[in-house]
């Protein structure tokens, strides 16, 4: 089992040091500390385990260190920033693990850009030595790349010439769309095994600054401090410590404090239940800080995120995730309003953006997601985003036979328009009604109404509504159908249908670039016995089928 939970005290590969308002996150990968056996993590090369620690650090810095306004990613190795994804790992990992590895590392790089853009924690890369492949792609995720000018250190994307694969962790897209490197220069750069250094790297916009070796440390510190000084984060805030999750993992069940995952292996379905809040909404942001990691929306975000990651990586044969909720919908609405109205407070803002990332993680998860809106459920505001993120949603009309109580309600709020954009830059509601202004207007009219099944269906907010007589049979058919289909065709179907409308750098990375990388990974020229990944380091050149496709 791959566990995404860790803590700085347990890091094997990173050193985190905080000096006033600047955090220094230094890579020092333990060669023997690979998450799987069979390869050595030499020269700060990385695998999923290294990236899990990085993601943890990025997350903790936001919550535990309100004072930090800039983060420097560096290296403790001499003359080497990072050699990129470990090739031994890429050569031996089965296809699903390779794809999951790339997806998670992409999400971590997006989280770095998100912190820079939204949270007042600007990331800088201090390249005191070579940054190759994924190492340079990590630097590309920061907003200021400083390269030591020692006639030696270079940045490079040697995937094509050396490995027969792509710079697939956003590298190709960030070159042209973020750094605006001319496409023919990007082509030249991506075919140079040795990469580029010095003045030419600067001139081609591959780095932002060249720094003499003698003043490297001082300049990095100076730049980071200047950035930190411009941050809007409080210098006197109390950090919110993220403790280990309250989590029990059984064979077919994972129980968190607010989330339960139940797995039916014969149906290949995971049922994921999230639970609403108990206790009332804090009076203000500082009051929310006082409740710390127990603040309901934060606790739920962390548990849901962990559950999704667990299913993605550790439960490959579970193809469908049913999402249920249970709780007091009015209290969820109170929390939803609190998050939006108090978003100026640094901690509340973090929770809001955290939900944005968790929801985008759901959008990017290669599993069929089905939302089930039942009596007693509490899909409202940001939780209603889960219904809109689902491939399909079903809502019960009336109540369960023999049970009284209230009917199911779906609670749209303003947050569903403005709070949680997808990676295409639109809300899930706008995406759902892309090109259909009338439909969008009808949906927006439901905001604030706590729609019944009939109303939600008429407004196009759910795929279908059924009474309790049909409910079980209909769902059984959906589950059986889904389990019978080719999982690959479902992945392709969902990856396309989930993103109508415009594209952004983020959707280009996850959609276009990733799809091409997955294709290349699957090709014998990369992963076959005589392919480049297998032959790398053997001294024997790969044996390519030269037919162009």
């Amino acid at each position: 089992m791959i566990d995404f939970q860790t803590h700085p005290d347990e890091y094997h590969h990173w050193k985190l040091r905080i000096d006033d308002r600047v955090a220094y996150l230094d890579m020092a990968v333990d060669p023997g500390g690979g998450i799987n056996p069979g390869y050595e993590l030499k020269l700060n090369s990385y695998d999923l385990g290294v990236d899990i620690e990085l993601a943890d650090a990025v997350q903790r810095l936001r919550y535990e260190h309100p004072e930090v306004g800039a983060v420097v990613i560096g290296s403790l190795l001499d003359r080497m920033f990072c050699a990129g994804a470990n090739i031994g790992m890429l050569a031996t990992a089965p296809h699903p693990l390779k794809v999951n590895f790339c997806k998670f590392t992409n999400e971590t790089r997006m989280a770095i850009e998100d912190a820079t853009a939204s949270s007042g924690q600007r990331y800088l890369a201090a390249l005191g030595g070579n940054a190759a492949g994924g190492g340079y792609e990590l630097a590309l995720a920061t907003d200021h790349i400083m390269l030591i000018d020692d006639r030696n250190a270079a940045v490079s994307l040697p995937e094509v010439p050396l490995l027969g694969v792509l710079p697939g962790t956003g590298g190709l897209t960030r070159l042209t769309d973020k750094r605006h490197v001319r496409r023919d220069r990007a082509d030249v750069f991506c075919t140079l095994e040795e990469g580029m250094k010095g003045q030419k790297a600067l001139e081609w916009r591959l780095v932002d600054e060249l720094v003499p070796a003698s003043s490297f440390v001082a300049t990095v510190t100076e730049r980071a401090r200047a950035q930190a000084a411009m941050s809007d984060r409080p210098t006197d805030g109390t950090g919110v410590i993220l403790p280990p999750l309250d989590r029990q993992i059984g064979d077919d069940e994972i129980v968190y404090s607010l989330v339960t995952v139940s797995i039916d292996r014969s149906k290949r379905v995971a049922s994921l239940e999230i639970r609403g809040p108990e206790g009332s909404v804090p009076v203000d942001g500082d009051d929310a800080v006082a409740s710390g990691a127990k603040f309901w929306p934060l606790r739920l975000a962390r548990e849901l995120d962990d559950a999704i990651l667990h299913l993605r990586v550790n439960e490959l044969e579970i193809g469908t995730i049913d999402i249920h909720s249970r709780g007091d919908i009015d209290m969820v609405l109170d929390y939803d309003a609190f998050l939006i109205s108090m978003a100026d407070h640094w901690f509340v803002r973090e929770v809001l953006f955290h939900w944005g990332r968790v929801l985008r993680r759901v959008d990017m998860t290669a599993r069929t997601v089905i939302a089930l809106v039942e009596p007693g459920s509490c899909f409202a505001g940001f939780l209603a985003e889960l219904v809109l993120a689902a491939d399909r949603s079903y809502m019960l009309m009336g109540t369960w036979a023999g049970e009284g109580g209230n009917e199911a309600r779906l609670g749209l709020t303003k947050a569903n328009i403005h709070g949680y954009p997808m990676s295409n830059g639109l809300s899930r509601l706008e995406t759902r009604f892309w090109g259909d202004a009338e439909g969008l207007t009808r949906a927006i009219a439901e905001i604030g109404r706590q729609s019944t099944a009939e109303e939600a269906l008429a407004a196009g907010l759910v795929t279908d509504a059924m009474d309790d007589i049909d409910w079980e049979d209909e769902l059984r058919i959906v589950h059986e159908e889904r389990a019978a289909f080719s999982p690959d065709s479902l992945t392709g179907l969902e990856a396309n249908l989930r993103f109508p409308g415009p594209e952004t750098m983020e959707t280009k990375i996850f959609g276009r670039l990733t799809a091409w990388q997955n294709w290349v990974f699957q090709r014998p020229n990369a992963s076959g016995e005589t392919g480049a990944l297998r032959r790398y380091g053997t001294g024997i050149r790969p044996d390519y089928d030269h037919r162009r496709v």
Copy 2:
């Protein structure tokens, strides 16, 4: 060898009939007429050969029939419009052929949409029976889908449930981005083997109109005539007949009247030379019509297009295409200005749009394209687009040793900003300088100047400029490097770097959707011994590896 040249008199699979201002293009696929042996084209299912005829018809209608303002795509089969791509063909075709087949059919569907959008020839689909898979995707490329309401005829995309692949000829993208079908409804529709018919198909926006069987023919005619009446095409124009190309195909050489392709198999390089005009520019559009298919820009467009298609499909191991030109640059500039200034004339407009499609075909070609700007070359205006379309471009400084004459010049014109948009909606110049306003301004300043190598290099218009001492060595190294790389990684690299900036439905289809389809095609669940494509029709269910990726 697959030949892309054909003529209505030689069609095996389509009947073309013109009645006043409406063309009727009816599918009647010859089951025994497959382009390769080993499968039968039952029920109007198609292979590349069927689509080559369709593409020919679409092209001819534009040139040979100025009077035609609407085109109805229908079927001569009872109760069957089109069953989609032939599954036996998909099951047996090697991966490169499958990918090339999809790319060409996608381009043909884009040509249909282009005719509707730009040429006053609106396409309608008359579904007198079932439209399944690629059959429905063909209908989606038209702007008005009429479905017979006979309780039987349905539209469907059964690729996922039946074949374990995707509706990869634009289907998924057009559902959400063109017809604005809600994404969860699209998910439901794409998992229904039997598809949808009648009122529900209309309500879900899958078709535009339901027509009773009794009035089907009359209504189709009425709709088409109404569309034709709104066309801006001349009713009294003289058509320009497209004769067979002047083409000699040898083992390592193809010689057209204005294009020569020379293949060096040991280097895996094709050298493509295009030649400038002889004789002066026509005085006006009608004068251009008088020169017919010999009108230089038309003749060159047809020959270049054929050469590119030939290399794509028949020369899989040729990984690099060098583009040279030879001719009088001033005369090319005259023609370039003529095309832009006379674009209101139906025929000139057709030639302009034709070049747009040929250039986009180059953008979509999975080969490294290198443009070589040498003394005596004539890359100006629309021919300069080839330099901008190339992955790299090199320009000679000075003249060849021992030869006098003029230096090489590169001639940007206004056409390079407004004339020939890429599929991302931008000019190649805007794409090249995406996010770099200063660079774009510098490039635009070269318009009208006939830039020298030094000037073109300084303005960022070419990748590099070299004198004749370095020229041959540098190119040899580029060719050798390119030939040594994994062809798959080059395909992925180029498919990403060529499209910085925004995306459109067209780039989503060619980039995102196609990449996923290629990945799925490569997976054992689709193409393996026990995969869905191989097992289809055997009565044995496919045996899937259920791990989700």
